[in-house]
Symmetry: C2
Subunit: 327 residues, 2 copies
């Protein structure tokens, strides 16, 4: 089978590609060819199958068509402009998140073979705040342009599935932690930073109190969900292609306890609480818990514990992060 990853050079795209290379197969069937597509040419990948690496713009219909050749059975559509950037540059967000998804839709439709499309939507498409526990049929009332564009992408791919152009599963990903790299201006940056920075021996500021809760998942869970979404029977989904996967609602206190269990009190002591009203104003609108019953019934695996999540980061990403940052 032929597989395409759009956004194949991003953090999750590279994790997913590495997993496919390790497995050599998807849903028990060997992969004949993998296409990685991103704005910058995707990194080289050792794999038991040919890997095409293409640099291009996801909003460019011809480029996306080239990335989804005839015979493609699964498209992972992870290409996106993320929340802070989509908020800062409205037209760029529209271009990538809306027109890009339209281009993916039309490329899949042109195949005429109804490929599976796994689309990464986001909890940012919901509102609700700290108190809410969102049911599976919660309305999406986005508080940011990224979330609005993701909700729009879901509607497009859902309708295209109903029409038989493609066969979409729209995964509303929780905040993924632990992300490698550096702290950045994204409002959610601290969620990864309070684990990553102390493990690197660095101090970091937490802008919200210990009681603040966030709906999270690990990169490992996200990749597992991608594979399940790519191979599951979609008939039980019916019209409704949106899935709230079973992430975990975690307070900052619980996250720091897990850090301490893995790396000791001196690691935890590197996190200082420095309230940031601006960050708080943004993140307090995010829903911190979901029922996620439908996803469980559909076979999406539970998020591992916070301690396992921290240990997985240490095992898989800490050294590379240290190296990348010259530490």
């Amino acid at each position: 089978m032929r597989v395409t990853i759009l956004g194949g050079n991003g953090f999750l795209g590279r994790k997913l590609a590495a997993r496919l290379a390790r497995d050599g197969a998807l849903g028990g069937r060997p992969i004949a060819e993998l296409t990685l597509f991103d704005l910058t040419e995707p990194a080289r990948l050792e794999a038991p199958f040919p890997v095409r690496r293409i640099a291009g713009d996801v909003a460019d219909q011809a480029a996306v068509g080239g990335a989804i050749p005839p015979g493609t059975e699964v498209v992972f559509h992870l290409a996106a402009v993320v929340s802070a950037q989509a908020e800062a540059d409205y037209d760029l967000g529209l271009r990538v998140n809306l027109h890009g998804t339209l281009a993916v839709l039309q490329a899949c439709r042109a195949l005429g073979t109804k490929p599976r499309v796994v689309f990464t939507s986001s909890v940012a498409s919901f509102s609700g705040g700290q108190e809410a526990v969102l049911p599976d049929d919660a309305r999406q009332l986005p508080t940011n342009s990224y979330g609005a564009q993701k909700a729009i992408g879901e509607l497009l791919l859902q309708d295209a599935s109903r029409r038989g152009f493609l066969d979409a599963v729209n995964l509303r990903l929780p905040t993924v932690m632990v992300r490698p790299g550096r702290p950045n201006r994204a409002a959610s940056s601290f969620v990864s930073a309070i684990i990553r920075e102390p493990l690197l021996g660095l101090a970091t500021d937490c802008p919200v109190p210990e009681s603040f809760a966030v709906w999270i998942c690990s990169p490992r869970s996200a990749v597992g969900w991608f594979l399940h979404a790519a191979t599951m029977d979609t008939a039980p989904l019916g019209l409704d292609r949106g899935i709230n996967p079973p992430g975990r609602s975690a307070t900052v206190a619980k996250i720091l306890e897990a850090l301490e269990r893995v790396a000791g009190p001196e690691a935890r002591a590197r996190v200082r609480f420095v309230p940031d009203p601006e960050v708080q104003a943004i993140v307090e609108g995010w829903p911190a818990a979901f029922e996620a019953e439908r996803a469980r019934l559909l076979g999406f695996a539970e998020q591992e514990s916070l301690e396992e999540l921290v240990r997985a980061f240490v095992a898989e990403d800490l050294e590379a992060t240290r190296r990348d940052r010259g530490l």
Copy 2:
């Protein structure tokens, strides 16, 4: 003030334009200029203010920009490809209903003066069926491309309102009855036909049983809601720009009773019940009732009685319909 009606040559666009011409004002302020924009050049309109009539494509950014000149304070965006057509021609539906709304958004944004945009969304953006009574925060899970494109338009205009590009009110219109013209292939055609055809002295088939319920409004109510949406204070809406106006849930039996009260048993006898499983399969997915509490609190007027609705059609549209159809 300057006002623009996109879709100004459609059934509701013409009703709205006539009302503005009669009033000469909107929200108590005189209208300085009205622009009517449609695919075909809008009909001539006698009015106490200058009327520009422009033929153009709503998906053409330059054309839409010309229809929304500097100083425009209110844009009524009624331009759409309707349900049956959007289902039959996917690309046309996308072009008009999605790219058209994007063009309107960008034209309003370019003004820099945050015009009010009254957007006609639709109950077709919901599912639910005969049993459901939809709350104001019901999720939109469209069963057709038209409904999906309308839900997308709402998300775009809602986010643009949040960003301060414009100031949108998204009205999810019920099925409007009585429409003039002829019976057509739209699944909802019968809702108007069972009133209009008997009043014209013609027989008509009703494809659903007497017990079938539909969420309806009159053109008069729709125009009243447009004017309220154009002039209301939008501050209480907050993030949520979607309004389910207070239509009326009416069974076919109740509609025919109203017909009989206005035009006698011989009119009612012209309606034959001829089940059409194909039409039934489509329309039984439509929600037939809404709570509409939010709209009432926001001052949207109640739908008049079915009998008043029938009498209004007789008074305002029956003769023109007879003439147009050469009867």
